[in-house]
């Protein structure tokens, strides 16, 4: 997530909250009554915002962020009806891991009901979902308003040090989809084991790193989903990648001048670049071109869509990990 968006979100959210506060409060009476009606037949879940009563039957789900929250909802086959406006898959250089699942959800009636990072309470109320699901930092400032519309469940982001597996199990327990979640995690673990076994020699012999590149330089962060996938298969981290695991909450950002110095011990790299033009610029970068991993052709490209997510994105990340080691 862009830093500017991170800084701006609370202000925009406060504005939205203030603008619709009256509307949301007006809804409180009838919506709360609805929640009471279902309380008897729902399940009570303890969340970081307090106990939440989830209806036994979930007819519709709205997600607010569209990353880990949406990934988990789609993986659990929850009936997603409302999502934020997402970047068009066809506008991205690399097809997002969730593209197919989102398209399927849209075929089943899911609609984009507000702009990304611009939660619209009125639009959510209009949909009248049985459940709202999102990242905790999005929920916190407007939890009361959201709760007036529907029960709210929160998941985390990679910087919170909570794995997608934990969030998946939490949502599954709340929605009665524990078996599906167990199958998903078992499938992921099996894929991890398969890659670790098939490429054991390359994994043990080749220092690697997962890198994000842009005009301002590079960054490495061990908690990103792509990084977690590498660590999951037992990757031998390069020096900077190993160091990033000790700075889990912030990662390591480096200027363009540092590119050769910090990645010259890596034998293979997974690099996240957003556009084809930026990729061309990276290939023209003389420091990048001097890296042993680049000269050996041991580079796999991805983009920010594999930085964060849930089980669907994690499986896509594993595909990239396999691609990396298969090329060695």
């Amino acid at each position: 997530m862009p830093k500017s968006a991170a800084f701006a979100r609370p202000h925009r959210t406060l504005f939205v909250t203030a603008a619709v506060a009256t509307f949301a409060l007006a809804l409180t009476g009838c919506s709360a009554a609805g929640a009471d009606d279902t309380a008897a037949e729902g399940r009570t879940v303890s969340t970081e915002f307090g106990d939440v009563v989830i209806p036994a039957t979930i007819d519709s789900v709205v997600v607010l962020e569209g990353r880990r929250d949406l990934d988990i909802a789609l993986a659990l086959d929850l009936p997603v009806v409302g999502i934020p406006t997402m970047d068009n898959a066809e506008d991205r250089a690399i097809e997002p891991p969730l593209a197919a699942a989102i398209a399927a959800a849209e075929d089943n009636g899911a609609e984009e009901i507000f702009l990304e990072d611009e939660v619209n309470l009125e639009a959510i109320a209009e949909v009248a979902p049985s459940l709202i699901l999102s990242r905790n930092s999005d929920i916190e400032p407007i939890f009361d308003e959201l709760s007036a519309i529907a029960p709210v469940l929160s998941v985390h982001s990679h910087g919170d040090m909570v794995s997608w597996q934990d969030d998946l199990l939490f949502v599954a327990e709340a929605t009665g989809t524990e078996d599906t979640a167990a199958d998903i995690i078992a499938e992921y673990d099996a894929r991890v084991a398969e890659i670790a076994d098939t490429y054991a020699e390359q994994i043990a012999a080749t220092p690697v790193a997962a890198v994000v590149y842009n005009d301002e330089g590079t960054s490495v962060q061990s908690t990103r989903l792509m990084s977690a996938a590498l660590f999951a298969v037992g990757a031998l981290p390069s020096e900077i990648f190993a160091a990033s695991s000790e700075l889990v909450d912030e990662g390591i950002e480096s200027s363009p001048e540092q590119t050769f110095d910090i990645f010259d011990d890596a034998g293979a790299l997974i690099v996240s670049v957003e556009t084809d033009e930026a990729w061309a610029g990276l290939e023209d970068d003389q420091l990048w071109a001097q890296l042993p991993a680049v000269q050996a052709g041991n580079v796999v490209r991805t983009d920010k869509m594999t930085n964060e997510g849930g089980p669907i994105t994690a499986m896509a990340a594993l595909e990239l990990v396999e691609q990396l080691y298969a090329g060695l």
């Binding site: 970047d87 005009d215 301002e216 420091l287």
Partner: protein, 353 residues
């Protein structure tokens, strides 16, 4: 006794000129120091030997190849872009302050930055451009169109109301707000554009803003500087007030258009090359007036040099204070510039009291 007066005047003028030349040499030396720091200092520490060898040519070793790439592909281009952008913005600031007779005027008052920003956002969102060189002509064109609109409204308003440059400033503020609102709408609807735009908007000399970006707009910067330097005597006349300037034979409308053309060329070029760098155009003329006095003949060239020094040094500072990461030069100048701006305001307030 009668001949004594011209001799004294000539002596005084000669002394003043020598003083100005000495200052010019001093700031020129400061620029050389800034350039040296721009080449030698960075977030990646390199040995002087590797730097020299890298400058002379690669011997095939990894260390020298790395030093050569850092020196020639990163530090040298960003130092040159910093010089060009700093000089252009500072001279444009002096022009704006001279034309508006407002000591707190800034090149941004002409709507140039807002016009460039909107054009860049539309280029990213509609045309899918993603690199600084792709934005180049959109930034420059957007700046020029915004300046033309502000100038047209400013002159139209001046014709109907009065000839005060305040009309131009008000027109600039209105157009800037309008363009900023449209930019905000586009960014709200398209967060992918926001991701790219923020890198352009922050004002940076790092990778992507290199000589490939600077060279196409360099002629415009040079022309802008030539117009500005040739405009010095007109600005001196305008400083006495419009009526006095008219009495001295100056035609106000052509003079203003010439000045605004120079500002547009300078700021449009600078913004296209380096993004939005604030405070240089506001602060540097004030700093330089302490050296040169209010006359624009010396003020404008000194602004060019001091503006270049300020931007290059700010860029060097940004490379080291959060190493191994970097702070963009626009951020460094904002952090430094805001307190300086406040000091300026307080000093003006104190002088009025």
């Amino acid at each position: 006794m009668t001949p004594a007066a011209p001799v004294t005047t000539a002596t005084t003028t000669s002394t003043a000129t020598r003083r100005q030349v000495r200052w010019l040499l001093a700031t020129g030396a400061a620029l050389l120091v800034a350039v040296a720091l721009g080449l030698l200092v960075g977030s990646r520490g390199l040995s002087p030997v590797d730097l020299v060898q890298g400058l002379l040519g690669s011997d095939g070793s990894a260390a020298v190849s790395e030093a050569r790439a850092i020196l020639l592909d990163l530090r040298l281009p960003r130092t040159i872009v910093g010089i060009a952008a700093g000089a252009a913005l500072a001279v444009a600031g002096a022009l704006m302050q001279g034309h508006t007779r407002n000591p707190l005027a800034d090149p941004g008052l002409l709507g140039v930055g807002a016009g460039a920003a909107l054009a860049v956002v539309l280029a990213i969102s509609v045309l899918g451009l993603t690199t600084p060189i792709g934005y180049l002509w959109f930034a420059f064109g957007g700046a020029a169109i915004a300046a033309a609109i502000v100038t047209a409204f400013g002159l139209l308003g001046a014709g109907r109301r009065d000839s005060s440059p305040a009309t131009l400033v008000l027109a600039g503020a209105a157009v800037t707000a309008f363009l900023g609102a449209i930019t905000g709408i586009v960014l709200l609807l398209d967060t992918a554009t926001l991701d790219l735009y923020r890198f352009w908007n922050v004002g940076s000399l790092s990778s992507g803003r290199d000589l490939d970006v600077l060279l196409p707009i360099l002629p415009f910067l040079v022309i802008g500087l030539i117009i500005a330097f040739g405009h010095a005597s007109t600005l001196d006349a305008l400083a006495l007030g419009d009526d006095m300037a008219r009495a001295m034979g100056r035609r106000l409308a052509p003079a203003r258009l010439t000045g605004l053309l120079a500002v547009t060329l300078l700021v449009g070029g600078a913004v296209a090359a380096s993004g939005s760098i604030g405070f240089v155009g506001l602060i540097v003329p004030h700093l330089v007036r302490h050296i040169t006095g209010p006359g624009h003949r010396w003020l404008l060239p000194q602004c060019a040099i001091v503006g270049a020094v300020l931007v290059v040094l700010a860029d060097v500072l940004g490379r080291v204070i959060v190493a191994p990461a970097e702070l963009p030069v626009g951020v460094v100048l904002g952090v430094v510039g805001a307190p300086v701006f406040l000091v300026l305001v307080m000093r003006m307030r104190g002088s009025r009291a």
